[in-house]
């Protein structure tokens, strides 16, 4: 397998290291910054340091475009122009609606790995960066099923857990679990700084809770400015919701309503347990075989429907019939309940499913 990396930073470099180590891929990389390419080659993330997008994409089976969110549409269209006919092209940006609206190509699949971040740059790339990491995929209704399957399997081989999701859901969920927390970290540190400045500049103030709570404050400005702007509409709604919640707490405190304070705190405790102590369920692997007409988008439709239902596809494989017009999708799903849910979901799409 030949992989092209457009953008050789933390994410691109880690894809290169993992792909070379785990699937013996041949990795070709380009970056607008020649130093990044040289460093990627030196660190073993690349087989070939390329001087252009076109050179990196020569004979590629899969391409990862890791560009800033604001530059993604342009970078993707350049990559797609240079990519072979049967090359899957994806991005790794943190917001998905804008890029999905801008790019229309059966070879393109939006993506977003939830991995890395504290330390940017190929110098910090690691082959195990994606081990166990969720990797959101946003296929479109014209996404080529063969290419979707290829990307899914490659990501599993890199150690990640791909989840299909539509771009709107992706951006709303990320606003709630990532973008708003970044905004609050910024606000919190600014406010703490002004309190400390006013009341005790040189008092000790580096408590562990403030340190943890503001770990992401002032994260990479170039990257985060773009994320904030790309998701601004949804984020504004999330901030409004947050202000409403804060106003409610404020009024409860102003009324000295101890019982309500206690209930609110207990609810947060329960929410945290539910959200952070749960994870994708495991269990025995089941194979489901879904008969499909080989029409564009059917694989993406199945993946998205399962994603919506919260079913994690552990692995997938396409089995085209000799006539080339029909075939089957093999899906591996972990857990008995998840497997029955998956059956229901697939059947609700009007497709027939068997357990071979």
């Amino acid at each position: 397998m030949r992989i092209a990396l457009i953008g050789v930073g933390l994410i691109g470099g880690s894809i290169g290291l993992a792909a070379r180590e785990r699937v013996q891929a041949e990795v070709r990389g380009f970056d607008p910054d020649p130093d990044a390419v040289a460093q990627g080659f030196e660190r073993g993330a690349l087989d070939h340091a390329c001087g252009s997008v076109r050179e990196a994409l020569e004979g590629a089976d899969a391409a990862f475009v890791a560009a800033p969110v604001a530059a993604l549409a342009g970078a993707l269209s350049e990559a797609l122009a240079a990519a072979p006919e049967d090359c899957v092209v994806c991005d790794v940006g943190s917001t998905k609606r804008a890029v999905m609206a801008a790019v229309c190509d059966p070879r393109f699949i939006g993506g977003h790995p939830l991995a890395g971040a504290h330390t940017a740059g190929v110098a910090h790339a690691r082959s195990d960066l994606f081990d166990g990491a969720p990797w959101f995929l946003t296929p479109s209704s014209i996404t080529d099923g063969m290419l979707y399957e290829r990307l899914h399997r490659l990501l599993v081989d890199l150690g990640a857990r791909p989840f299909a999701v539509d771009a709107d859901t992706h951006d709303r969920v990320m606003a709630g679990i990532s973008h708003l927390p970044h905004v609050l970290a910024n606000v919190m540190i600014a406010q703490a700084a002004s309190v400390v400045e006013e009341y005790g500049e040189r008092l000790p103030h580096a408590g562990p809770s403030l340190r943890d709570a503001t770990r992401v404050a002032g994260a990479n400005t170039a990257m985060w400015r773009d994320i904030y702007l790309a998701n601004a509409d949804v984020l504004v709604e999330a901030i409004d919701d947050c202000i409403a919640r804060l106003t409610d707490v404020r009024d409860t405190l102003a009324a000295r309503d101890g019982e309500r304070v206690a209930q609110w705190n207990e609810a947060a405790r329960a929410d945290r347990r539910r959200l952070l102590e749960s994870d994708v369920p495991g269990g025995p692997l089941h194979e489901l075989r879904v008969a499909v007409l080989n029409r564009p988008g059917v694989v993406a439709d199945v993946a998205l429907a399962l994603g919506r239902a919260g079913v994690n596809i552990t692995d997938m494989a396409l089995h085209p019939a000799p006539d080339g017009r029909t075939g089957a999708i093999g899906l591996w799903v972990a857990g008995d309940d998840a497997a029955s849910d998956a059956e229901d979901v697939v059947e609700s799409l009007g497709l027939s499913v068997v357990r071979p």
Copy 2:
């Protein structure tokens, strides 16, 4: 030295372990929960498991009252009634105005160690819990100077760094660096939970940034309800300030003002560096000797004035003159600049200072 612990939990138990190990103190402990006393004894935090406050305070030189914030005033008045004439009595509560207003006794000094918290109970007590931890002290204008010095030295021996501060400043600073962050963690997790519930209950959502940002969400309800209520007025102001800041970010995002978003993010980055990467300065130790009339409160006044100026007193000692009416305070201060600052501060109080 004989130490009394009223309340044998994480903090009380850790004081007991450290005091026995590091200053060979005899530690007597009482807790309304007999199991806590038994477990404290078993874990080696106590020499004597006592059945009452009075029994624990027999012959005590110093007493630590570790009770819930709402119960502090009552617990302290009981302890002070039972404490010997020359016993220093302090609390370890997270807010200080209410307790300072409620208790008026030259033997009492308010206190608040910034240590521990994740795991309550004497089972998690450790003799090194206070190593390097700031320990706020709020003496009053009638606090006995000999007792202040005794407590200061004891806390240094336990590994802590005592800082004198007035109760109002303490509560305002804690609202900014601890109580508001707890409120925001609760709000953040509740909002993330409702977003996940609405858009993808079973999508992966346990990203490391949400996990860190909400580590303190739903912290011990009994303890935190009391803290929120005891500091409600200041916390309401802090929430209002936070809402104003969020509204500002919201408007900036709604206007898609990328330049302002970038400036705001850079400012947060700078604030975080300034706040969390700085710490109390070190440097060569200087001794300052302050001549004082032996009037009540002078030691507390000096400690508070130095605290306000951000000068950390590394160690202190009292040197009463034979006439019993005058004397000197020996102060050790780390760093050349801090030592000159300390000289200025002490002289501004009308006291004379020499470097012996």
